[in-house]
């Protein structure tokens, strides 16, 4: 980004902030915007013209902001003729963009006559239902919402969007701008075996979040490395014990994918990897076990409920003031800043803590990328078995278009997929403390561009990451088995996984 661009964005953001704080009038704001070269469609102005001042204060976006762009509407109307009345479906986790999209989809239906049913269920159930669909090639779902850990599993079941975009020029949405998707994100998330499995749709990523006030109180600088992080966590636990506060909070629920996410991160941060390049499980080598030991140490400095907590529990720990330092999903951030939150404005975020060194992707197996920022992204894939491929394709392009993605972000304050969304003035305008804040997004963008890690891309990974690994970890962390011996636990996992990999003939 050139200095000039950066300057311009700052200018826009400042103006927007002033406007939402009612320091300047709407006319002045618009004038400044046009100075900055930002054109507003009549619809987008709606968000500024809110009649309720409180709406700006709270969300900076009113319902009018959801109105459809006229060009997009026209395109939708033009291409959807043959598909009027069809209904397309997919099943998804209740991630922020999905929830917002579920609301926005009405616009799409209005313009196209294509109905959209988004079946929202918890993540593992999304997996089970999608798996069932592809196993029987049922075609119940037209799109698949695919978590990054399942992308390889479903690679054979989806249509390559890039190829399809070229193949069907009459259905191609103008201005898709494929290059607008952040490159590391596409590589880490959407691409398997050289082609796109789907379009990136959501990118929660691990950043380091800390309680500014607590750290200041104990004169601790925000940690940059794992060692600093562990030391700070221990210190805070010790110092704040009486106040019911722990150093950190973890998503260590046995048998749950969240625990597996935490684990991969500590393994990578300690220079380990999950697989070696000869496709052997290496979670039991010295580096990985060392990482796990650090995690065991962290668990001692986290609320005991951590062992029964998924991301939900971890978020509640953060929101209720139970912990001060967390290396976890950036998605929590807007919620922490919500009105009524006890910790509004108290959390800050920074790029994730780093280990001393990282194993190079070349030394790891199955396309694994060890790095400081575990990503839990997901993509929308177009089902090969769908009976309404083209209708679904129109929706998918629309859902992943610049406008919609930006507006999804505006509705929830989570990280967008598109560079343009990160830089959208409406997004910038919300970089203030408050519900739906976007003030963490610059850090997230930096993290995506520099620190993004990726779990192995292999068909069996969905199973390992949801069953074998987190179950064994649960046994270890709650004292059911292995007597606290991390190595023993990981040897056990290694035996299971190596056997399964061999059996599958990978």
């Amino acid at each position: 980004m050139s200095f000039k661009d950066h300057d311009k964005l700052t200018f826009i953001a400042d103006a927007a902030r002033d406007f939402s704080a009612r320091r300047i009038s709407k006319r002045d704001f618009l004038k400044k915007m046009s100075l900055a070269g930002v054109g507003f469609s009549a619809f987008n102005l709606g968000l500024l013209g809110s009649t309720r001042p409180s709406r700006n204060r709270s969300f900076g976006i009113g319902d009018a902001a959801y109105a459809q762009d006229a060009d997009v509407t026209k395109w939708l109307k033009d291409v959807s003729g043959p598909f009027k009345g069809t209904k397309i479906r997919y099943t998804s986790e209740a991630t922020p963009p999905t929830v917002v999209l579920d609301k926005l989809k009405g616009e799409f239906t209005e313009a196209t006559g294509i109905e959209v049913e988004i079946e929202i269920v918890p993540l593992e159930q999304v997996l089970a239902k999608a798996t069932q669909d592809v196993q029987g090639q049922l075609g119940s779902y037209d799109l698949y919402y695919l978590d990054q850990s399942w992308v390889a599993t479903f690679a054979q079941d989806t249509v390559d969007p890039i190829a399809y975009y070229k193949e069907k020029p009459d259905l191609a949405m103008p201005g898709m701008d494929w290059d607008d998707f952040s490159k590391p994100l596409v590589d880490g998330l959407a691409v398997y075996d050289g082609h796109w499995v789907g379009i990136p749709f959501d990118i929660p990523i691990m950043v380091t979040m800390y309680r500014k006030d607590i750290l200041e109180k104990h004169k601790i600088a925000p940690p940059n490395t794992v060692d600093e992080f562990v030391a700070a966590v221990k210190m805070i636990t010790e110092a704040e014990k009486a106040n019911g506060m722990y150093g950190t909070g973890l998503q260590a629920k046995s048998g749950h994918y969240s625990l597996e996410c935490d684990w991969t991160q500590v393994v990578w941060n300690n220079g380990g990897s999950i697989f070696t390049k000869d496709k052997k499980f290496s979670g039991n080598d010295e580096a990985a076990v060392g990482g796990l030991k650090i995690y065991q140490e962290l668990l001692k400095n986290a609320p005991p409920e951590s062992t029964n907590s998924t991301w939900d529990g971890q978020f509640q720990m953060m929101a209720s003031g139970q912990c001060a330092l967390v290396n976890s999903w950036d998605e929590f951030f807007p919620g922490l800043d919500a009105d009524g939150s006890k910790v509004q404005g108290l959390w800050e975020c920074k790029r994730p803590i780093r280990g001393a060194s990282y194993r190079s992707p070349g030394d790891a197996g199955f396309g694994e990328i060890p790095n400081p920022a575990h990503q839990g992204g997901s993509i929308l894939g177009l089902s090969k078995y769908s009976k309404n491929v083209d209708a679904a394709w129109i929706f998918m392009q629309w859902a992943c278009s610049k406008d919609i993605m930006t507006r999804c972000t505006l509705g929830g304050g989570f990280a967008p997929m598109r560079i343009s969304s990160f830089n959208d003035p409406r997004v910038k305008a919300k970089e203030v403390v408050g519900p739906g804040t976007t003030r963490h997004l610059p850090i997230v963008l930096e993290t995506i561009n520099n620190d993004m890690a990726s779990e192995p891309d292999m068909p069996l990974w969905a199973g390992f990451s949801n069953n074998e690994i987190p179950v064994a970890l649960g046994k270890l962390l709650t004292g059911q088995d292995y007597g606290g011996d991390a190595k023993k636990c990981m040897d056990d996992v290694a035996a299971q996984i190596d056997k399964a990999v061999a059996e599958a003939g990978l």
């Binding site: 048998g255 029964n308 529990g313 209720s320 069996l460 199973g463 949801n466 069953n467 179950v471 059911q480």
Partner: protein, 312 residues
């Protein structure tokens, strides 16, 4: 006399006068067939056919990478024998069923005795007692998940305040206590069902023996053990059977509250099947485990029905 001997109508009931003489006799309303057919059809189409399908499925081996299914009849069934988690789950299932049954039975009986009164207000108490039954188990599980949260849950905090648990202790996040936590939800929800069954039994007991016993000087406790229990034995046996079957297949509580965890501390046969199904998508193996559950339920409950002469 007539009430004991089954009344059997003439076999060829299509009388000369019958207006529907052209119908085959087994289609007339005098023949049991038309009465039994709808339920039988339902069972065959929605029960037995899927079951046979599942049985077939269990004879296939699924390649986790390619998703190809290969016919390998012994693969899953031998795998089950050597799978430690199956044995652990089997143990947990019996533990879960046994403990829940004992608590539900004893509590159910005690509460039924307590609420079995015609005095004013007891009707309302009895109605309130049925409330837990109407909550979806998946929601009950969420409810207890929150109440048992070591940091925020009202039950955990209560126990901690009483000094029974260390600060912040996570009942569900601890291998030694998780089963108790799940059982708490199970027992809370289904004890009322037992209460209903027991109340039904108590209410249909004849009064005379109790009056006689009271005249003979039997205390309430003696009357309970000498009269109530023996006379209720059939009710109790049926209640144990029905509840036992349900408990053996219980899924929602474990799934939502601990997801078989921590580790495999609360993993039951059905929840293990669920993990294999949800997590690994190994449908054949999941089916095999579920079928094993079915086989055990059949064997155990048939043995129970024989042993206790349960007649439906």
């Amino acid at each position: 006399m007539s009430s004991n001997t089954a009344s059997l109508l003439p076999r060829e009931t299509a009388s000369p006068e019958s207006k529907r003489g052209w119908l085959p006799s087994w289609l007339s309303s005098e023949h049991p067939f038309p009465w039994l057919f709808p339920a039988a059809a339902l069972m065959v189409v929605f029960g037995i056919y899927p079951l046979l399908y599942a049985l077939t499925l269990s004879l296939y081996k699924k390649n986790a990478a390619t998703r190809k299914m290969v016919f390998a009849p012994d693969h899953n069934w031998t795998k089950i024998l050597s799978d430690e988690r199956v044995w652990n789950a089997l143990f947990n299932t019996f533990l879960y069923t046994g403990i829940a049954l004992v608590f539900q039975l004893v509590l159910g009986m005690l509460i039924a005795l307590l609420l079995d009164s015609d005095r004013k207000g007891y009707g309302i108490l009895r109605a309130m007692m049925t409330l837990p039954l109407v909550i979806p188990p998946a929601v009950t599980a969420m409810m207890f998940l929150l109440m048992l949260n070591g940091s925020f849950g009202v039950l955990s905090r209560g126990l901690i305040a009483m000094g029974l648990l260390p600060t912040g202790f996570s009942i569900l996040g601890n291998a030694s206590t998780a089963m108790a936590g799940v059982l708490l939800a199970e027992i809370w929800q289904w004890t009322p069902f037992m209460v209903l069954i027991m109340l039904a039994g108590l209410r249909s007991l004849p009064k005379e023996p109790f009056e006689a016993a009271a005249i003979d000087g039997a205390s309430g406790v003696q009357a309970f053990f000498r009269l109530t229990l023996p006379m209720m034995s059939k009710v109790i046996a049926i209640a144990v059977l029905i509840r036992g079957i349900d408990l053996f297949r219980a899924f929602d509580y474990v799934k939502v509250m601990t997801d078989s965890g921590p580790g495999t501390a609360t993993e039951t046969l059905t929840s293990y099947a669920g993990r294999i199904y949800f997590g690994n998508a190994d449908f054949p193996y999941a089916s095999t485990i579920a079928l094993l559950t079915l086989i055990i339920v059949i064997v155990v409950s048939s043995a129970f029905m024989k042993a206790f002469k349960v007649k439906l």
